[in-house]
């Protein structure tokens, strides 16, 4: 009988399909500065896609692999962005440090809030994540002195990275910056894959597949959900930090629940049950949104339509249909 890709996650084979498709993905990503301008795109679009892709993959760690719904991940995206920007503005001239601190802030937020709500279930849990997102949004746009309020946080610039005598000018060179983001993305994705292939990942999948049975195998479900939530917040906040570096700007609207919804639709559009799905979903959604908003004043209707159509007709997402994953 066939094995589903759910069970692929259990084997020592990587969760992300066979080696060929992995190699393909990386080849495409590495060659972006070559082929993207050729089809009319620009490198910073790819950088933005990587950032959102990481955010969506981070969310999917929780949603797709643990089976827990969060509709407030914009909070961690934003905490990462502001943490990064504020670090560069006030603390240190180091880009890697800024990303790290942004990630720390976001992860802490996830850990604390997650602990508060972990005993709640289902839609109620989701409602609470939405509310937390809005709290962060509110803080971002009212704490003017610190965060810059409605106008967002400016006054910081991504710093070149010096490794010994070598200076990587990610400040002025968009292509080098893209590779910096890609490298960070690679590290995160590698970590995520490691976790999901390990017993820990299998435990999360078990919780998703049958929470009751997991509990009655002696697995402390709430603790694992909290861990998954915190880890997911980590990846999403790294993504937020990277996003802030794209335009040297931390945008309060990235904390709104609209962005939370966008991140979820990216994961679903690409395929919730697959590893790379959210990245593909992010690419499609970001590109589509860019295109639609430049073409018509009614872009909101079209974005809304994307949500409705995907949910009704393509719930398994692109990779889900291509690989016939279960729902």
């Amino acid at each position: 009988m066939s094995t589903t890709t759910v069970s692929e996650a259990f084997h020592r084979r990587p969760t992300y399909g066979n080696w060929l498709s992995v190699a393909l993905v990386w080849a495409v990503l590495l060659a972006v500065p070559v082929w993207l301008p050729a089809i009319g795109g620009y490198t910073s679009l790819a950088t933005r896609i990587l950032a959102f892709g990481l955010a969506a993959m981070g969310l999917n760690f929780l949603l797709g692999f643990t089976g827990v719904m969060s509709f407030g991940h914009a909070a961690y995206f934003g905490l990462g962005a502001y943490g990064c920007g504020l670090t560069l503005k006030y603390l240190a001239n180091s880009t890697p440090l800024a990303v790290l601190i942004g990630a720390l802030v976001g992860t802490l937020g996830g850990a604390l809030f997650g602990a508060l709500i972990v005993r709640r279930k289902g839609v109620y849990f989701a409602m609470l994540t939405i509310a937390f997102g809005q709290i962060c949004y509110y803080i971002a746009y009212t704490w003017n002195d610190f965060t810059g309020g409605y106008d967002g946080l400016r006054g910081f610039v991504r710093q070149p990275i010096s490794i010994g005598p070598l200076v990587i000018d990610i400040q002025n060179n968009m292509i080098l910056f893209y590779y910096f983001v890609l490298a960070t993305f690679a590290v995160c994705v590698g970590l995520m894959a490691l976790l999901l292939r390990a017993p820990f990942g299998r435990t999360l999948i078990a919780i998703r597949e049958n929470q009751r049975r997991a509990r009655f195998l002696g697995i402390p479900v709430e603790f694992h959900v909290w861990l998954s939530f915190t880890i997911s917040a980590f990846f999403t906040s790294v993504a937020g930090a990277l996003y802030a570096l794209v335009n040297n700007f931390a945008d309060p609207t990235t904390l709104n629940y609209v962005i939370s919804g966008d991140i979820v639709i990216m994961a679903v559009l690409g395929g919730m049950r697959s590893f790379w799905g959210p990245l593909i979903g992010a690419a499609m959604f970001v590109a589509l949104q860019d295109y639609i908003s430049s073409e018509t004043v009614n872009w909101m209707s079209f974005i809304g339509l994307i949500f409705v159509v995907v949910v009704l007709f393509f719930p398994r997402g692109v990779l889900g249909y291509l690989r016939r994953l279960p729902l």
Binding site: V6, A198, R202, N210, R212, R213, A214, L217, V221
Partner: protein, 249 residues
């Protein structure tokens, strides 16, 4: 000292008393059956023992330790393993993978980001052991959701065995099964009891299974204990006959 001791537990949902002052003492190596008409409170009784909710009154002791306030996860970790009326398994995973989750959980590996080759080998061996013990060697690579009812139950039992439980609580293990499957599962339970010396508490409706396997039987009726004794005693008890056996399949 009994392995599992339940002292006068009562569970009331508002004004509805589902379980009324029921006591049970199970010794190591025993196979105890709990029978009774539908609505007798048998599953609620199991739920109390396994920690779904706290009893309104009464005490539960495992190996002499008071577990009345312990949560379900804790109880499993202390050695209380359970199967459910509706088989609780991971349907989208293979038999091997189902058992793997259980083995890794039991070995304390569930949080691990990485395990060594040696540890992985030990896990594999243990999985093989359990699959052989439950007679699922032929089905090991198949998705559990696609198996027959009997094999699904066997897989569920394999998962509980992975926990090296002190006591097995089986809620209607042969529910909804035909002749062949009932025979398969009853045989498995018998082997576990007689050969591997597991302590088992069963809820069952199939009287042939009950009378064939049980050392002692407890009868519940409307949440209250009606009778307790050996199969012979229970079969002869007129009150039991009136309440239940007369209406049995």
């Amino acid at each position: 000292m009994s392995l599992l001791e339940v002292r006068g537990v009562t569970k009331a949902f508002g004004s509805l008393v589902a379980v009324d002052s029921v006591s049970l003492a199970v010794d190591g190596g025993e196979l105890r059956a709990i029978i009774g008409p539908n609505g007798a409170g048998k599953t609620t009784f199991f739920n109390l023992i396994t920690g779904f909710f706290p009893p309104t009154s009464g005490q539960i002791l495992l190996d002499g330790r008071d577990i009345t306030r312990a949560n379900a996860t804790r109880r499993v970790q202390m050695g209380l393993a359970r199967t459910f009326q509706v088989t609780e398994i991971f349907p989208e995973l293979t038999v091997r993978e189902n058992v793997q989750v259980a083995v890794e959980a039991a070995t304390g590996f569930r949080l691990r980001p990485w395990i060594s080759r040696a540890e992985a080998a030990r896990v594999r061996d243990r999985i093989d052991e359990l699959i052989v013990a439950t007679g699922l060697t032929a089905q090991a690579q198949r998705l559990v959701g696609e198996l027959s009812h009997g094999d699904q139950r066997a897989a569920e039992i394999a998962m509980t065995l992975a926990l090296r439980p002190r006591i097995l609580l089986l809620d209607e293990p042969t529910a909804g099964m035909g002749e062949q499957e009932t025979y398969q599962i009853a045989g498995l339970i018998r082997r576990l009891h007689k050969q591997s010396h597991y302590t088992v508490v069963l809820i069952e409706h199939d009287m042939r299974v009950v009378f064939n396997l049980a050392d002692r039987i407890m009868v519940l009726d409307q949440g209250r204990p009606l009778a307790e004794g050996t199969p012979a005693e229970i079969a002869a008890d007129p009150a039991v006959q009136a309440a239940y056996l007369g209406k049995a399949e």
